[in-house]
Homo-oligomer: 564 residues x 2
Amino acid sequence: MRQTRLFLNTMRENPADAEIASHQLMVRAGLVRQLTAGVYTFLPLGYRVLKKIEAIVESEMDAIGAQEVLLPAMQPEELWVESGRSETYGPDMFRLADRHQRKVVLGPTHEEVVTNLIDNEVSSYRQLPITLYQIQTKFRDEVRPRGGLLRVREFRMKDAYSFHTSPESLDETYRDMHDAYCRIFERLGIGYRAVEADSGAIGGSGGSHEFMVLSEAGEDTVAGCTSCDYSANLEKAVAVPLPAGDASATPAPLVVPTPGTKTIEELCRLLDVPASRIIKVVVYFADGQAVGVCLRGDHEVNEAKLKAVLGADHLRLATADEVLSAAGKRVGFVGPDAPIRMLFDRDIQSVSDGVAAMAGEDEHKIHVVPGRDFDLSETVDIRNVVDGDACPRCQSPLAFYNGIEVGHIFKLGTRYTDAFDTTYLDANGAAHRIIMGCYGLGTSRVLAAIVEQSHDEKGIIWPSAVAPFQVHIVLVSVKDEAQVKAAESLYHRLYAAGVEVLLDDRDERPGVKFNDADLMGVPVRVTIGNKIKEGQVELKDRKTGDVQVLSAEEAFATVLGMVK
Amino acid sequence: MRQTRLFLNTMRENPADAEIASHQLMVRAGLVRQLTAGVYTFLPLGYRVLKKIEAIVESEMDAIGAQEVLLPAMQPEELWVESGRSETYGPDMFRLADRHQRKVVLGPTHEEVVTNLIDNEVSSYRQLPITLYQIQTKFRDEVRPRGGLLRVREFRMKDAYSFHTSPESLDETYRDMHDAYCRIFERLGIGYRAVEADSGAIGGSGGSHEFMVLSEAGEDTVAGCTSCDYSANLEKAVAVPLPAGDASATPAPLVVPTPGTKTIEELCRLLDVPASRIIKVVVYFADGQAVGVCLRGDHEVNEAKLKAVLGADHLRLATADEVLSAAGKRVGFVGPDAPIRMLFDRDIQSVSDGVAAMAGEDEHKIHVVPGRDFDLSETVDIRNVVDGDACPRCQSPLAFYNGIEVGHIFKLGTRYTDAFDTTYLDANGAAHRIIMGCYGLGTSRVLAAIVEQSHDEKGIIWPSAVAPFQVHIVLVSVKDEAQVKAAESLYHRLYAAGVEVLLDDRDERPGVKFNDADLMGVPVRVTIGNKIKEGQVELKDRKTGDVQVLSAEEAFATVLGMVK
């Protein structure tokens, strides 16, 4: 394609609202434009990349026998009421009424619709297992769209759903899907980790992996072992339990005044103890019941683990009033002996000489020993792992990374087939619930993640599998006949050889052309300038920066070798 | 693909709500399923066909230099207010408010969004002309969805938009687009006509063509010459003016009583004259003004022509009260001499001895001659052409067909660039309005139109370019080892040769298999049954029904020849 014909405006400056590299570069290189908050147009250059990503996804889905369908974007709200998710999704879902006042939602995902389809179409075990997938525009009314294409309200996604007669059959498809995702990210040329993820209260066979692109711009935290391949998102990550503290020399508890201490930090400062010696209590409301969580002052409650332990659907922090009425004390002065149900993090036992709010208001007890000075009724793993924790598999230290979640695969079990009473008949004519898995991959988010991971200060560096063009010919001067002739000749030869080639035939200064080429990030650049007098052109690798000066003929052969 | 693995249920009976062949067959052959009124899921078989249609459209758009983009489905309502179409679309558009109460519409089309994009991105004549296209899911809140995929609320469409500095440049792209559409429909293997279409009050350079698939199920009427290639939709079709009547022997007008005659039919019966001798007047309100239309009793007003003549935005029939108050007479008794603006159809002059309501109530005048007994102030072509009219190009008779509109191309001129004040700077730095064209093609509607046009009583007959599979191997008995061996061998050989082949490996009765194969309509069927004992298989052309009995080896070569 000729650049004079390409619908493209590059920009020198970062857009004012763009905070992360992928957002800045995708706008500057003319891949996308925002229409309204969190809603983007894909321009020709961006759409070329998106289509390549989606073609790779498609081919790997086909390869494992998944069948492509297209489910509607508009879904009757009643399906979501039936599954119970109309309420849990709340305002995150776009909702409307049609001209007959029937309620409709715009699909953020398709578990309900696909389960309804299977409910209508599948009756016999002979029709199972089956895996359906689609690549489609999805809608989600994010509170605060951000990060360019990372968190938007209209996005592209591949979603797949599998249906089975047995957990073993689900396991098999789940493994196939896991491996297909690995091949997809490898083919895309993107660095990723498949991490164990929380399967929440959804239940079922209870397996889940997230596919994370490691990046500073990521909103998710991944805990990974520095030695083995253990990886999990923060919600799911576990560590080796801490050793129990030795309290044999700890004196008896003593009440000390602690007026006005509202935070762990203030208490530590006043008493000159580290946060690891504070025994704190956080009060939640889980499905309408108050429950206290007791853990070390330097640890944080992991709400996903808490929800799973409690089997709770709804979980939130108690308000100040609720704390007072449930525990009889003000926030900050509820102790592990409070008269409410109390869950203890197992690592509270590492405290050998602690500080706890087991006295009056504006007082604390020091020299408190868990188990000696208060009962440890329910002891569970209920905290986030932190720096210094050890890998549950090999005891090496855990490290923490930011990641962009680009895929999520999930053993759903019967969560949705229960809701829609979706059954099959076995060989003996007996009815059983169908078992289900679901598998998401955000294709537009992958695009942003690739840019986030693969760029330098000059612009994007496309992995060749998804580059909008394979070769960028920069014709330095359109007024120089020899340059024009050489550029046109190479352009036509590469085009005829099936190479996706972009020819910068604009009447612009060389600096503008080089800057744009770096910004756009096509993997191979051929510069045709003054050296053409000696029959020479320059070939540059965008990623390594390596430059070769070659004859035009050598350049043709070398480029062919690089892109094929 | 093996049919035992394909997600497919065929049905023997027509669904109760399906009235037309394409709807019945697409559901019965397992191409689509309705989720809710006018909203369909594409199942694997249907989606394979849709993707082939869209790939052909895409390749022909690329071939004329159109560049593919993806514009958002969610659009700020304010863009539609700015263009004035928020009002004219009314309840046909899905509207919603997001969580911040900002108003959003779901795009039924993208003139507003793309003009806004061009307004932001294009400043110089050097960036023009440019043509952008997309293939996308569109939304339209139809009052009465019907006909399976013919009139739905969520559908697939290719829409393209071109932008120009001159009408000549628009003409050139319009011609390219017209020719590309012809190539698309030819490649799809579909019988179509490109017909002149009404360009309504939208103005601009004022050219428009509709692409019609001729079919009984079509909602549109096409008038086509029985001799030359003149074709136009009914709104636009014109005919040779009728010869003027010879009134030299017509007596003077005479008032006769016509009590209780409310319709043309009643009047004809009472007076024993044909409708062609009645001089009728229909009263409209155009932009708030009453206007009468005078034409022959056997002719119908063409509202598109009327709107164009009046340059009116809003046109409707006057109510009974409005007729009485504007013309001073009751409906049915308003004559060509009524005291309101009156437009005369030019063919009223063919009446040599007419009947008109030029007397009191419950009376008519007979022996009325237009021009003699009332003034012909404004004489225009304002009626629908009818059976018996002659082609405006060659005077041969016109014939009428039903058609399904599958494409519409349109010279918009500055309709939208005026609304958004979208200009470019010429070489001298002077600003001019950008000129625009738009080009739609309903890909899911094309799918239905193909089935509508290409089927028999047994099922669908796919044109090979869009068939979901190229070859259907029917293995008659999965219990016969020789048949299984031959079928598997042919299946693998064809698959390896790049043929899209479906193997019916189900344990079903032969009749079920043959009926399903006919219903699904794959172009070539290879039946492997008892004759395999003699080394023979049967090859059947779905369209012609021709059967050849061949050796397995000959069958392989023959099939390859048929599908390549």
